[in-house]
């Protein structure tokens, strides 16, 4: 166990995140340092994976607080229902992003002056709008 902990500079390199962010995340309780060597933090190599997970979560639109609830086994157990719910949200997001990607690709080719005038584009958007209003109603 001794000797393989990393100091913050190494975590910065491996994660691509600035040191200030790592300190901030630690303060927020999203990651933990294993201890100190003098004044310097020491990190377990696993922290790099955790950071990747956090970045992915942010990408998925979760707040740091939500991520904390999902991945730190804060209580006696992780809330499985919450996880399922979040998985559903992500899947929903994926569906919408597919519409967007298609829309962007189309817009890049479409000769219509404004995309909002192109019937194909309009149809795609109408689909997305439908999804969105369904989402709104579910709240």
């Amino acid at each position: 166990m001794l000797g393989k902990d990393m100091d913050i500079g190494e975590v910065v390199e491996r994660s691509g995140l600035p040191a200030s962010t790592l300190r901030y995340y630690e303060e927020k309780g999203l990651i933990r340092s294993t201890g100190r060597q003098g004044i310097r933090r020491l990190f377990d190599p696993d922290v790099v994976d955790q950071l990747a997970l956090i970045s992915l979560g942010r990408l998925a639109g979760f707040s740091l607080d939500e991520i904390g609830k999902m991945f730190t086994p804060s209580g006696p157990h992780v809330d499985r229902e919450l996880l399922l719910e979040k998985a559903g949200e992500v899947e929903q997001t994926i569906r919408q992003l597919k519409v967007i990607a298609k829309g962007l690709l189309h817009a890049a080719q479409c000769p219509a002056p404004s995309h909002l005038e192109c019937p194909k584009f309009q149809r795609m958007m109408r689909g997305a709008v439908k999804i969105q209003s369904e989402m709104r109603e579910r709240r």
Copy 2:
């Protein structure tokens, strides 16, 4: 043309966005009101579709400024290369979200005390990490 423009309350209803947001978007140049009736804004019904598009864009992780550049034909023509690039970004995001969704579903079922200890979970995350570091390198 006369008579079918909507006032802000109707847009609020149809879009689900608060009036303050609509005014803010107008100020930013993301949407336009067709004119005024006295002091009150009037909106073309199309604005509802535009708003849905904006919401989708935000969901995809674009800033309001980026959305402005992508969808308002500000200059003589829309920048097609930019659109293609953005489409690629969205597709990349979709790939990563799939990993997350899978991860969340797995985490909801996995009996391991901490997900970070589950080998299956670790493998999934490692895949995601790889994608992320590839992305970082591309900048």
